[in-house]
Symmetry: C2
Amino acid sequence: MSVLVVGTTALDSIKTPAKANPRLLGGSASHAAVAASFFAPVKLVGCVGEDFPAKYISLYRRHGIDLAGLQLLPGKTFHWSGEYEVNMNHRRTLATELGVIETFQPKLPEAYLDAQFVLLANIAPALQLSVLGQLRKPRFVVADSMDLWINIALADLVRLLKRVDGFVLNDGEAQLLTKEDNLFLALKKIHQLGPEYVIIKKGSHGSVLSGPKGIFLCPAYPLSCVEDPTGAGDSFVGGLMGYLSAARGPVGKNIRRAMVYGSVTASFCCEGFGLNGTTRTKRAEIEKRVKQLEKLTRF
Amino acid sequence: MSVLVVGTTALDSIKTPAKANPRLLGGSASHAAVAASFFAPVKLVGCVGEDFPAKYISLYRRHGIDLAGLQLLPGKTFHWSGEYEVNMNHRRTLATELGVIETFQPKLPEAYLDAQFVLLANIAPALQLSVLGQLRKPRFVVADSMDLWINIALADLVRLLKRVDGFVLNDGEAQLLTKEDNLFLALKKIHQLGPEYVIIKKGSHGSVLSGPKGIFLCPAYPLSCVEDPTGAGDSFVGGLMGYLSAARGPVGKNIRRAMVYGSVTASFCCEGFGLNGTTRTKRAEIEKRVKQLEKLTRF
């Protein structure tokens, strides 16, 4: 079954202590869609401006991503520019130019309306709600978000959370949203906002799922070299939803392995700038790291 | 088989945002010895002053800890006083009164000299070396340390690392020692200093082992309430060494489970002030959490 992914499609200019790379393909939807494409067909919902390089359209196509929902709008593509500190754990936004995303109104093609697995990747919660409102009967909807929306669009986010099956956020965002330092108490508070499944991402420390079958502690794949962690969280949730939509049986049975596949896909993302690490990966390499993670965590 | 534990025996005055508790039993050797005592007989090497409360001697005895190596010296017991911040992740030392520990010269009783499993818990590396030098033919020696010794006694610590089988430290200390931010590169650098087994502790994020059989990612038991994390790292390595010394077969076969047992023992430590959380625990409760951790990490 296919996954519908809505989110930002952006050009990212990323500086790390080692390198600087201008105007790479980025955005939550790009990272999530490419990650999901290893496991299932993907339908993309987003918008780009007239400056969007044709080579990135080709990149999407090489990953078999359905672009019927990608709007080409007059103006410039969303551009984000940021810098990582020495230890890659903190990043600083240098510039955000919204461009066409400022007036973006998602309008789903007819062929998208019966989507079953839906990933509302990080974008304004009002836009996530707009997409959700157009869908006929989605089976499993997961939303991602970021600190910005908790700070400036909390009411929309809270409305969204009442309507999704799963919510993914990082530990800092969980603390910001719940005012709770303890991760397991934060998980309980987020469930009270609506989602049956809540996943808190902890970067290189892995992630934690809380769902109807309790807690799952998901490991991160050990990396000796992180070239650029931008998009790792999006790749995680993209891989997770791709795996889930392709797996047989109920979500509750598959979601742990889906997280591990998401975690491994994110590990490849970290090993290159922008999408370079992810796009040079093959499904067989993902399988290999999943098997390694089994061995690395067995006791 | 028994474990020999050397380290500090202290009185700890601990403030957290919720409570303050003066002069509780603490110190690396106290936490490690009690943790190890759930799994194996323990021989303690340390020193206390004339102010050391008799009730704490009784506490050691209730845990079957052999006190032939505990010296009662004229003067005051080592006293540490510290305060935790709101989120329990950062602590501040308010006062350190060395007392009798300043002139402590460990002298092992004859019955200790053939100890096989030896835990050099956190104390000055010169004292750890002194104990190690008195042992006839130890089978498996693990050292713990702290940032203080990396800063003020690095030469001693480096000498020590050449002579131990295992070294345990936390992520901040690993970074301080190796000047390396990436944990897996830090592990490699620490192996080059001598130890065959290196374990980096990451608090609530678990711990990582690097040994001859590769990497093991050890989970932390999920806690909704951390009352006082003081001594958790000592409890971890104490539980680990206790389990290892009681297990049959080679260290390489048992060390993963030993870490999980150490991790669970440390979780009980965090649930009470000082040693209160650990001492009210029973072996059966440890087994229960180990089983739970298996379920929480399976995929």
